[in-house]
Each structure stands twice: as C-alpha cells, then as structure tokens.
Symmetry: C2
Subunit: 132 residues, 2 copies
Amino acid sequence: MQLPIRLSKDSKTPIYHQIEEQVKALIAGGQLPAGTPLPSIRALSKDLEISVITTRRAYLNLEHGGFIQTSQGKGTFVADVSASIKEEVKVSAVYKAIENSVETALRHDYTLEQIEEVFKEVIAVLKEKGVS
Amino acid sequence: MQLPIRLSKDSKTPIYHQIEEQVKALIAGGQLPAGTPLPSIRALSKDLEISVITTRRAYLNLEHGGFIQTSQGKGTFVADVSASIKEEVKVSAVYKAIENSVETALRHDYTLEQIEEVFKEVIAVLKEKGVS
DNA sequence: TATACTGTTTATATCTATATACACAGTATA
DNA sequence: TATACTGTGTATATAGATATAAACAGTATA
C-alpha cells in the first residue's frame, strides 16, 4: 500500500508529526479501514526519503493513540477506531486548521472580508486544478 | 512597548519562529513603524516567560532578514522596510496560511462546500467575539 | 532451514531551549 | 570628570527533542 503522504521538509513542524496527522486523516476519512496493512517503516521511509527511525516514531505515537497496531515481524495494521472518534478527529483537525489560518490573517491586519476574498481565491485555484 | 505576541508553547513550531512571524506581521501591518524601539530581549523574554536566548535568536533572524536593527547597549529598533516588501510579507503569509488550511481540510475528506461552511462558522464565531 | 521480510534497540549528530556569566553603552551624581 | 549604576547585547555550557545510521530480533514462507 502506497500512502498518499506529502511532507514539507522545510516546515518547522516535525516530520513525524506531519506523518501522524496525515495517517490519522486517512483513517478517520475511511480511506484506510480497520485491518488494512500499512507500509513497513522501511518502505514508507524509502518512499518519503526519510529515516526509518522517523517513520518508526510516527507509528509508535499512532499506536499509543490507538489508531494502529504493530506486531514485530508481521507488520503494522489499522486499528478498529470507532466512528465517533473518527468524526471527532476530522472535525477538530479541520476546525483548528481553518481557525488558525484566520487568526494568522487577522494578525496580518486583514479584515474578515479580505480573508474571505483570499479564501475564495484559494478555492478557485484548487478547482482549476480539478480538486473535488 | 509591549508587543502583542501570543505563543503556543505546546505547538510543534519553535518559539523563536513564532516570535519572528508575529513581529514580521506587526511590521508589515504598519503597527510598528520604522525606528520604533522594540522591547529589550530581557523584557520580552520576561513578558513571554521564555529564555533570553530564545528572544535573542528571534531578533537575530529578524535582523538577518532586514526587518530590525540592533545595536549593543542601545537596543533594538524597527528597520526601514519598503512598502513593497511589507505587502509581499503580508500577502504571502496570509495566502500560505489559508492554502494550508484548505489542504488540511481536503485531506480530511472535506468537500469545498463543506470547507466553506466551516470557514463561515469560524468567521461567525470571531464576529461574536467582536473581531473586526 | 534458508532467506527475505517484518519491527526493535543502540549509538550518534543536529536542532531547540535554557541558565549563567560576561562585555558594552548610556545616565545620574558625588 | 570620575565613578557607580542600570540597561543593552554577547558568549559559553548544558539538557532535551528531533533525525539519522547501523546492528539486533522476531515472523513468514519458499
């Protein structure tokens, strides 16, 4: 399984955290049903061109959070996450992201109207690219 | 001068970087005109309850970026940043923030319509709080 | 039972944040 | 004007987080 993960290597947020968030999103969104085998830490680290230890850490944190299960020698698999938790993950992550972006815009002296304008522009550009 | 800076200490982005971004925003937004004395690294570190070295690092990076000027014994002052650069800082920061939030929402399987809904909700909440 | 695949542990380097001690510049005042 | 005092930025040493490479150990299967 090839995970659709995109990393910002020059971002200030740790790589392992970026992986965690995106895997959570895939599980919460239903793209990765319970029991699905995840790529091995080696395969993923090769795919993302990062160290094995970094993917290992991301997987460890995801396991502690109850999102995946790993067993030595076998591999790593998506855990059985309840629908309510999935929904909670989705809603809170999206809300926080958008709230944060609006706060950033306000700090840059943008009015709510101007923010809405930029927002619509971003949407328009994404629609150009054929995003759903 | 008491800088209106808010830190997320549990955030994954380094403190010095949060300070840089917010000071840049204040300069680009015109709240801090050229020549304005910034708080000393000690005063700011005490205000934000962080180490002197961390504020020092933020100021150093801001100086390298041409946003402020520091002279030993005197203090730190806002540099004369051109209007075009100020505008560029504002636009790119806001655009990136909003673009990033939309990408996060898309990763969580949100449609553009749903994203717009959340966005409007965030705006509405902020208006409740009396934000401009 | 080889072999090739898993995850795991150990040791190392770099980045982030801190505490502490130091050197420089301005200002009051004896 | 000498001197002490206050405020400024600067340098060094230390602890923890982040990322890496290399060696170790369990599991499946040809």
